[in-house]
C-alpha cells in the first residue's frame, strides 16, 4: 500500500541523481543558504559602514573571541554550568509537574483544590520571583534553580492536566472494558493518550527555563554560565565576546530543541501518528 505509492512517486522522477541525494542537497541548501547570506551581509556592514568595532565587530573578531573562549576553556565551563542548571531543574520540575498534573487530570478533588492557585501563579511571571528567591537563598545557585524548577513544574502541570483531562472518552471506555482500572487505567491508557500534550509541556518548560536561565545568570552572578559571560563581557566592553556568547546561546538552544526534544517526539508521538509532521 504505502510502498506502492512510493514506487509510483519514484518512477515519476526520471532524473539521474538518486532522489535521496537530491533531497539531502536541497535540505542542506535550504539550511545553509540563508546563513551564508546573513554572514556576508554582516561582514559587508562591518567593513563598509564605518561603525566602530565596539558596536559592530567583524566576523573575524567575533570568531576570534569564540576561539579564545575555546582555548581558555571558558566556553566549555560556561556551557557546562548553564546546561547543568537547565537539565537539573527541567528534570526535577518535569517530574513534579507531571505528578501534580496527572493528579489534577484524574481526580476531581485535586483539580478543584488546585485550579485557583495555579491560575494565580500563571499570572505571575517566573522572573518576578527573583527578588523573593534572592531574599530566601541569597545570590546562590538555589536562587536560580528554584525559579527554573517552579517555571518548568507550572508549565508541565498545566499541560499534563489538560492533556489527561481531554483524553478521548472512547479510549477510556475501551480501557475499562478490557480490564484496565485504577492505576493501570492511568498507566496503560490515560498517560500514553495524553503524551502528546505532556511532551508539549516538556518542550515549553524547557524553552521557558532556557530563557529565564540566561537572565538569571546575569542577575545572580554565579562563577560560570553563558548569561554570566554575556553580562561580564558587557561590563568590560568586550563586544566581540558578547556577540560570540549570543551565538553560543542561540546554537545551544537550537541543539536542545532540535536534537533532544525532536528525537523524543519522533520516537513516540509521531510514530503513532497522533501528531503530523508537515511535508
Amino acid at each position: 500500500m504505502a510502498s506502492t505509492i512510493m514506487d509510483v512517486a519514484e518512477a515519476q522522477k526520471t532524473q539521474t541523481i538518486p532522489p535521496g541525494v537530491r533531497r539531502f542537497l536541497a535540505d542542506t541548501l535550504y539550511v545553509l543558504g540563508p546563513v551564508v547570506v546573513c554572514l556576508v551581509i554582516w561582514q559587508l556592514i562591518a567593513k563598509l559602514s564605518g561603525l566602530p568595532k565596539v558596536i559592530f565587530p567583524s566576523l573575524g573578531d567575533i570568531f576570534g573571541a569564540l576561539w579564545t573562549m575555546v582555548v581558555e576553556g571558558t566556553l566549555y565551563s560556561d556551557v557546562k554550568a548553564t546546561l547543568g542548571r537547565l537539565m537539573y531543574s527541567v528534570i526535577v520540575g518535569s517530574v513534579v509537574g507531571t505528578i501534580i498534573g496527572a493528579l489534577m487530570g484524574s481526580f476531581r478533588s485535586w483539580e478543584r483544590a488546585l485550579v485557583g492557585p495555579i491560575n494565580f501563579l500563571l499570572a505571575v511571571p517566573g522572573t518576578a520571583l527573583f527578588p523573593l528567591t534572592m531574599i530566601w537563598f541569597g545570590l546562590s545557585e538555589a536562587a536560580i534553580l528554584s525559579i527554573l524548577m517552579y517555571e518548568v513544574a507550572l508549565t508541565v502541570t498545566v499541560n499534563t492536566w489538560t492533556g489527561v483531562k481531554s483524553v478521548d472518552l472512547s479510549l477510556i471506555r475501551a480501557g475499562r472494558a478490557f480490564g484496565a482500572r485504577g492505576p493501570m487505567l492511568f498507566l496503560r491508557v490515560l498517560l500514553p493518550a495524553a503524551l502528546p500534550s505532556i511532551i508539549t509541556g516538556y518542550r515549553l518548560g524547557l524553552s521557558r527555563a532556557w530563557r529565564i536561565l540566561i537572565i538569571a545568570e546575569m542577575l545572580v552572578s554565579a562563577s560560570a554560565g553563558l548569561g554570566y559571560r554575556l553580562y561580564w563581557a558587557r561590563e568590560l566592553f568586550q563586544t566581540d565576546v558578547v556577540y560570540a556568547g549570543l551565538l553560543v546561546v542561540g546554537i545551544t538552544g537550537l541543539v536542545l530543541e532540535r536534537v533532544i526534544l525532536r528525537t523524543l517526539e519522533r520516537y513516540t508521538v509521531q510514530r503513532w501518528g497522533t501528531v503530523r509532521e508537515l511535508d
Binding site: 475499562r176 472494558a177 478490557f178 480490564g179 484496565a180 500514553p192 493518550a193 503524551l195 503513532w272
Partner: protein, 256 residues
C-alpha cells in the same frame, strides 16, 4: 459457557429544563431477553431507541436504573473480561501496534507473555491481519481497524461478545466485505454475540435471532428467528421476506 440474561432493565435520564426544573425521560422499561450459548442475536431499532444504552449496560459501562444482567448465571455490574466489546468508533489504542492492541485484554488478565503472544498470533490470523501485526492503527484502513477491534474482543475469549454498530463507521462496500468476514469469524468460533445495528439487512444476514426495540419508552416488540442456512444469500426470496417483516414492524411502531 456463554449465556447472557438481561432481566427487566430500565433506564431513565433526567433532563434539566432550566433553573430548578427537570423532567425524567424513560428511554426503555423492563427489557428482558436471553441469549443462549453460541447464539448470534441482533438488537435493532431506530436511533434514540436506547439499543446502544442496553449494550453499554451489559458491558458494565453504564448503569441501569433497575434490573440486572447475568452472564452464565452470575450477576455483573462492572466491566469485565467475561464480555468483549467492539465499539462503533473502533476505540483502538493508537500508541500500540496491532498485536499489542489485540493483546491488551490478555495483559489485563495477567496472561504470561509467551502464552499471550501465541494467542495474539492466533487471533491476528483469525481476523486476517497477519501481515500487519506490527503496524500502528493509524496506518490501517477503516475496515482493517475494525478487524483489530474484533481481534481485541475475541482474544480475551469472553463468554459473550458485545458489538455496538461495529460496521456503522465504514463505507458501504467495506461494510459488506466486513459482514462476510464477521460471519466467517463467527462460524469458526461460535461465540455468543449481541450485535447492535440499525441496518435490517445486516441483522438478517448475520443473526440467528433479531430483537426489535421500539416505542417510547422502548420495549422488545418482536423476537424473530432467522432460520436460513449459512452462508446466506441476500437476494433469496426468503431473505427478502424476513427483511420486509422487520421493516414493517419497525415502520408500524414509528406510526404510533
Amino acid at each position: 459457557m456463554g449465556e447472557l440474561r438481561v432481566d427487566r432493565i430500565s433506564k431513565n435520564y433526567v433532563v434539566n429544563r432550566g433553573f430548578n426544573s427537570s423532567t425524567g425521560l424513560q428511554v426503555f422499561r423492563d427489557i428482558s431477553f436471553v441469549l443462549e450459548e453460541g447464539e448470534f442475536v441482533s438488537l435493532i431499532g431506530q436511533s434514540g431507541c436506547g439499543k446502544t444504552t442496553v449494550l453499554n449496560i451489559i458491558a458494565g459501562l453504564d448503569r441501569p436504573n433497575s434490573g440486572a444482567i447475568y452472564v452464565d448465571g452470575k450477576r455483573v455490574t462492572e466491566p469485565g473480561l467475561d464480555r468483549g466489546v467492539v465499539f462503533q468508533e473502533f476505540a483502538l489504542f493508537p500508541w500500540l501496534t496491532v498485536a499489542a492492541n489485540i493483546g491488551f485484554g490478555l495483559k489485563s488478565a495477567g496472561v504470561p507473555k509467551p502464552e499471550r503472544m501465541r494467542r495474539v498470533a492466533h487471533y491476528v490470523e483469525l481476523v486476517g491481519l497477519s501481515r500487519f501485526i506490527d503496524y500502528y492503527p493509524n496506518r490501517l484502513s477503516g475496515g482493517m481497524r475494525q478487524r483489530v477491534g474484533l481481534g481485541r474482543a475475541f482474544a480475551i475469549e469472553p463468554a459473550v461478545l458485545l458489538m455496538d454498530e461495529p460496521l456503522g463507521a465504514l463505507d458501504s462496500q467495506t461494510r459488506e466485505t466486513m459482514q462476510i468476514a464477521l460471519a466467517e469469524i463467527w462460524m469458526r468460533t461460535r461465540k455468543t454475540v449481541l450485535f447492535v445495528t440499525h441496518d435490517i439487512r445486516e441483522a438478517v444476514y448475520l443473526s440467528d435471532r433479531v430483537l426489535v426495540l421500539s416505542g417510547r419508552p422502548s420495549e422488545v416488540v418482536l423476537d424473530l428467528a432467522i432460520e436460513l442456512p449459512r452462508p446466506r444469500d441476500r437476494h433469496s426470496p426468503e431473505f427478502q421476506e424476513l427483511e420486509l417483516t422487520l421493516e414493517r414492524k419497525i415502520g408500524q411502531n414509528r406510526m404510533q
